[in-house]
Symmetry: C2
Subunit: 307 residues, 2 copies
C-alpha cells in the first residue's frame, strides 16, 4: 500500500511532534503504512520528552512528491504546513485550531474539536475506538497536553483536556506535575540559540485579508531574562519582516510561572497590536499583557479581528 | 442559552433535511437549545419521508442575524450555504463532502468523513456517544442513506453506510427496500413543476478558480421522460446562466433503475464537460454517462479537475 506521511506544523512544538507519533501508531493499528515526519527542528521541551522515552526524533522533510498522501495533525492553515501542499493529497486532518482557507478536491476525514490540545482528541479517538494506549503513547499524549495547556493553566484548557490528562497520567505511570514542570522548564532554556533561532522556535504565520503576519512565542520562567536580548531579537525580527515581506511580527514572551506575557510588535502594521489589545506600545515597541498565555485564544484571534 | 440554528444546504435534499432534524435531537440531548431550519423547499422525496413520519417540515429561513450561532450539516461550501454566512458563527460542521475555502476565526467542531451520507456519520456519533436512537431518528437517518446512496447502489456508498443502513432498518422497523424504492420513486415525480423549478430542485453551486458552476441533478425512472422537456429546461438554464453570471451549468438526469445519467451542459465553458468526461456533447448539448449516478464522486470532481 502507498505510504502515508503524517505531518505536524512548521516549527513543530511538543503537540505537533507527539501527536504525529501517536497518530502513526493509530494508523498502523488500522493497517495503514504511515510514517510521522516533521517540518523543522525539535525544540528543547520536546527533546526532553523524547529523551525521557528514549525515542529518536522522526525524519525531517521539507518537500514531498506530487500526489503524496498526507495526514495533518495540529494544524490546517497552508502557511503553517508543508510547502507545495496544494500538490499533495490530504486524506485526514486531526486538529484543534480555527480553520483557514482550507480546500480539498475530494471528501476526507476532518476531525477537529475546540480542545486545548490535539493529543486530547487523539486520546478520545483511542477511547471511542477501543484502541489500546500503551505507556509510550500515554506519555506522548500527556506531554503534548502539558505543553499546550501549560500544565492545565492555560485558558485554552478544557474539561476534556483535564480528563485526558488524569487518565494518561495513570497509564504513563508518571507524576505529571513534577515531570511537566521539568519538561516546561527544559523548553525555557534557549540560551544556546542565536536571536535568529529564538524568534523562529515557535513561529506561526497567518495570512488574513492580504496581511502577512507572524506570531512567535517563547516560554520563560523570567520575562526579563529574555527581554535583555531585545536588541538582537528586534534586529532579527526586522530582517525577517523584510525578507518575507511581512506586515506584522509579534513576538510573545510568556511567563509560565506567573501566567503573563510581554509582546514585542514590529512591522508597518504594528498599530494592529495596539488596536487588538487596546493599549499603546512603549518605547521598546513592547507591552505587557496580564493573564495572557495562549497565542491561539488570547493573541491570534484579537489580531485577526483587528484586521 | 443562546439558540443555535442547524442548517443543511440550499435546495435541501433528503440528507440535508433528515440530518438537520436528527442533529437537532442530538443537540437537545446535550442541553443545547437547537432548531433545525431549512434554506429551501422540501422536495417530493423528502415530503414522502416526512409524511410517513407525520412530521411537519421545519421552518424555512433565508437570512440570520449577525453573530447567530449555527451548525452546518451536509455541506460546508459558502455558495451552498446561507447567504451572509461570514457574519454568522459556525460552531460545528457535520459533513461528508470535500472542503472548499472554509474559514473561521475560532476553533470549532468539524467532523467530516468520506461516507456516502451525513446521516451515517450521525449514526456513528450516536453509537460512539451511547445516545439512544428512537424509531423516528432511525427512520430519518435510514431515509437519508437511501436517498444519498440510491438504496446502496451509488459508488459513494461505503461499508459504513451499509452497516448503518442495516442497523437503522431494524430500529425503524421498516422493510427498507420497499420503503426506499417508494421514497425514491416519489422523488422522480416532478411533472407538477415548471422547468425553472426542475433545474433548481437539487442544484449546487461551486466556485473554483474564478469559475462559477452549477451542477443540478434529478432522479428519474426513465431518462427520456425528462429529456422530452429539453427545450424548456435549456431555456431556463440559459436564463439562469445570464442572471447569475455562470460559466457553466450541468443538468444531470439520473436513471435510478439502470444507474446511468444523461447530462446537458450549457454556458461558455461547456467544453469543460467534454474535457472532464473525454467525449463530445451531441447536437442537444447532451451526452450519456454510463454508470454515472453520483454528482459528488462522478461529476463534480471531474469538472473541478478539468478547470
Amino acid at each position: 500500500m502507498e505510504k502515508v506521511l503524517i505531518l505536524g506544523h512548521k516549527n513543530p512544538d511538543t503537540d505537533s511532534i507527539c501527536s504525529s507519533l501517536v497518530m502513526e501508531r493509530i494508523a498502523k493499528i488500522y493497517g495503514i503504512d504511515a510514517e510521522a515526519v516533521r517540518l523543522g527542528n525539535i525544540n528543547k521541551e520536546t527533546e526532553y520528552v523524547l529523551n525521557y522515552l528514549g525515542i529518536e526524533p522522526q525524519r525531517q522533510i521539507t518537500v514531498a512528491e506530487e500526489g503524496q498522501k498526507i495526514i495533518l495533525v495540529d494544524h490546517n492553515e497552508a502557511p503553517q504546513s508543508i510547502d507545495g501542499r496544494e500538490k499533495l493529497e490530504v486524506i485526514a486532518v486531526i486538529d484543534h485550531h480555527r480553520i483557514a482557507d482550507f480546500s480539498t478536491s475530494m471528501p476526507l476525514y476532518y476531525i477537529a474539536k475546540p480542545y486545548g490540545c490535539t493529543s486530547t482528541l487523539l486520546y478520545e479517538i483511542c477511547k471511542k475506538e477501543g484502541l489500546e494506549i500503551d505507556k509510550t503513547m500515554a506519555t506522548l499524549m500527556l506531554s503534548a497536553i502539558i505543553s499546550d495547556t501549560l500544565l492545565l493553566k492555560s485558558p485554552t484548557c478544557t474539561k476534556k483536556d483535564i480528563e485526558a490528562f488524569e487518565e494518561l497520567e495513570k497509564i504513563a505511570e508518571i507524576d505529571a506535575k513534577t515531570y511537566g514542570l521539568d519538561m516546561l522548564k527544559a523548553g525555557t532554556d534557549f540560551s544556546m540559540y542565536g536571536a535568529a533561532e529564538v524568534i523562529n522556535l515557535d513561529a506561526k504565520e497567518f495570512n488574513e485579508k492580504g496581511k502577512k503576519i507572524v506570531i512567535a512565542q517563547v516560554n520563560t520562567a523570567d520575562i526579563q531574562d529574555v527581554f535583555t536580548r531585545k536588541e538582537e531579537l528586534s534586529f532579527e525580527i526586522e530582517k525577517r519582516i523584510v525578507d518575507d515581506g511581512l506586515d506584522l511580527f509579534i513576538f510573545v514572551i510568556t511567563d509560565i510561572i506567573n501566567s503573563n506575557s510581554k509582546i514585542i510588535a514590529l512591522g508597518t502594521d504594528k498599530e494592529l497590536a495596539e488596536k487588538a489589545f487596546g493599549k499603546k506600545l512603549d518605547n521598546d515597541d513592547a507591552m505587557i499583557l496580564e493573564g495572557v498565555v495562549s497565542r491561539k485564544k488570547q493573541v491570534a484571534p484579537q489580531i485577526i479581528d483587528a484586521i
